[in-house]
Symmetry: none
Subunit: 369 residues, 2 copies
DNA sequence: TGATGGGTTGAATCCATCT
DNA sequence: TAGATGGATTCAACCCATC
């Protein structure tokens, strides 16, 4: 048993144009160290377009490559490309897949059925997600990555535990990552000024995955290369890549992009994450934490105004209900108010500003923010 | 078609001891408003126990109820209990399931296959997760909840958008929730001082789900009741519950726990009215009430566009006639427009938004109704 | 040169009611 | 039951023009 690396030459640092399953099947077995895959998400959007509150149209993903007739056909497709990946993976290689709730459960199940061994699921928390315009659901503010080894017996996979910890205030890197969307200069634009690819991933996301789970010189395969974020980051970080992309337009854009990437020096490969701004704390969290009870009465410092805390983290005065800020502004007749510094809870016979509890929660959040 | 609620009595605010599938099948179809399920996670732990760096043993979940011989048997079990849930759900009921990467992909796929419609996946970010002692993976710092309606056609599900927003700094609630683990006094301990249940969920997590997706008086079913966090929170928040638990020890602990819960006052439970629940007011009523005269000229706020009020409650620009919305969209070249907030009447030399008159009429309707 | 404000945009399973 | 219509709904980041 075991894999015998083929002597066949690998198409390193190239973009292959074509169907990813056929292209992978043409590669030698057991030849890549890592796979990063961003497959179609199988979004099932209705016919009507979604309008923002200002009546502008949301530019949805409606490309042909995201169309599947049923869950069954999506599952078949998923098993096929995952199987092809598994064949070309070295025994200790790992696989990353990114997706949303539309497809990630199908992908995760297929992975497990094929014998992959899930090491973590990772949550990419978006700094600036698209809002939910109709107010019918929670803001869809994250995507999920699955990190898996080739099998449960693959114990020798690469994981740079110490490096990640060192870059994270000496705390273990958690499974929830806070990273902005790909915008600005990083977002590839065509001659018409429009985005080249509808779902270009941020380089920071790829950088963290490749720094975590590969070594310099490792070969990273991306079967859904798109505009080549995986290749650009691999080159910058001193890794080799194999990209496969069906659409010539994307492949061309990827090649041009990667040609412009300057590799980092070996010494500078680990980057500390940027300092975060103070994490926002919902007043609801203060209630949930039990610092302030639902039903409790808050006042201003001089006890001129009163309002009752509701279990949903709003304040109420009789029938009037709103956020701590809204109600604070209302009672004072002001256009705005910082509820955190305005409202107080009775503690030991004296009013304690509720901002004290926010500070406490932030300390508890620590590096988790 | 449609569900006809059975006259059969529901076992409200009770803990049923037994197999959840059999127990659910004995309930009338279409009878519950919400399901919260925390099924066995199908953890695949080796025989050897995990040791902390100080050689103490980690108290892992190794109970018999979490043993499944294969993915196939777990999938069968999952489909069965999900189907039983779906039968007892009202058409607009929603289902919550919590899990980790060990089982959530199986559960999510089964959900979709059975016709549930996923509304969100929610990430519970743990404030104080267990570290990864071996340093072989990322700290597993989150669990995933899936929120789904009974079918894609179930558009009338409950979601308290405004209340959640008010409790969250007046920002939409996101899909990533930061909540501490269940520890301290909240964690049920036996006479021996050990925790009663290995996976007791924090009340804050249940509170947020029930406040989001149920109304006071709604019936919440929990087929894996454990030590009754769902029941305790439901009682506190003025919801009814049906708990099903196989282990007598857990059921007894749950009953004792829930008996000690003091419900919040009715007043603090009232949810913020959704704006769309406000009664519809025809623009014609504003004209009929004399607030705006037929023949009067309306403009936008900056007086760029003009239109004349007709006695039938439409607007006209020359020969073009239509509703306040149609004409507002037309002059702006937009696909749609809310005429109530777009059009203004000249009052005291300044433009007054016509929505003010709708508010006034609604207040009058409230007094009359 | 820096501050400010307007405009644009991001993998979206995003309406309710009446005729 | 399908089609028409009323009308409710957004947050963070970045670009750019203007002050």
């Amino acid at each position: 048993m075991g894999f015998v690396p083929s002597q066949q030459r690998l198409p390193l640092d190239e973009v292959l144009v074509g169907d990813c399953i056929a292209a992978m099947n043409a590669l030698p077995a057991g030849s890549v160290d890592c796979v990063f895959a961003d497959p179609p998400y199988n979004l099932q959007l209705g016919e009507a377009s979604l309008l923002r509150p200002d009546q502008s149209r949301v530019d949805a993903v409606d490309d042909a490559w995201d169309k599947f007739s049923s869950f069954a056909s999506y599952d078949t497709f998923t098993r096929e490309w995952l199987s092809a990946c598994r064949r070309v993976m070295k025994p200790n290689a790992t696989l990353w897949v990114i997706g949303s709730y539309h497809n990630i459960f199908r992908v995760g199940s297929a992975l497990q059925d094929l014998g992959f061994w899930i090491l973590n699921d990772i949550v990419w928390r978006k700094a600036n997600p698209m809002p939910n315009f109709r107010g019918k659901r929670f803001t869809n503010a994250h995507e999920t990555l699955i990190w898996a080894s080739r099998s449960a017996e693959s114990k020798g996979y690469t994981f740079h535990y110490e490096a990640l910890k060192g870059g994270n205030e000496d705390l273990q890197m958690r499974s929830d990552w806070f990273i902005p969307l790909c915008t600005g200069d990083e977002r590839l634009k065509g001659a018409d000024g429009h985005k080249v690819h509808p779902t270009q991933k941020p380089e920071a996301l790829l950088a963290r995955t490749l720094l975590s789970a590969t070594n310099p010189g490792d070969v990273v395969l991306d079967p859904f290369f798109g505009t080549g974020t995986t290749g650009a980051v691999a080159k910058r970080l001193g890794r080799r890549f194999i990209g496969i992309e069906r659409e010539t337009v994307y492949a061309e854009a990827a090649r041009a992009r990667i040609a412009g990437v300057v590799p980092l020096s070996q010494a500078s490969l680990l980057v500390s994450p940027a300092k975060r701004a103070e994490p926002r704390v919902p007043f609801l969290s203060v209630v949930e934490a039990g610092h302030i009870r639902a039903g409790e009465v808050l006042t201003d410092e001089r006890r001129r105004f009163k309002a009752t805390v509701r279990p949903d983290g709003q304040l109420g005065i009789g029938p009037v209900v709103g956020s701590i800020h809204k109600i604070g502004a209302l009672v004072q007749g002001l256009p705005a108010c910082n509820g955190w510094t305005f409202w107080h809870a009775e503690r030991g016979g004296k009013p304690l500003v509720i901002d004290a509890y926010r500070t406490e929660l932030r300390a508890a959040m620590g590096a988790a923010g």
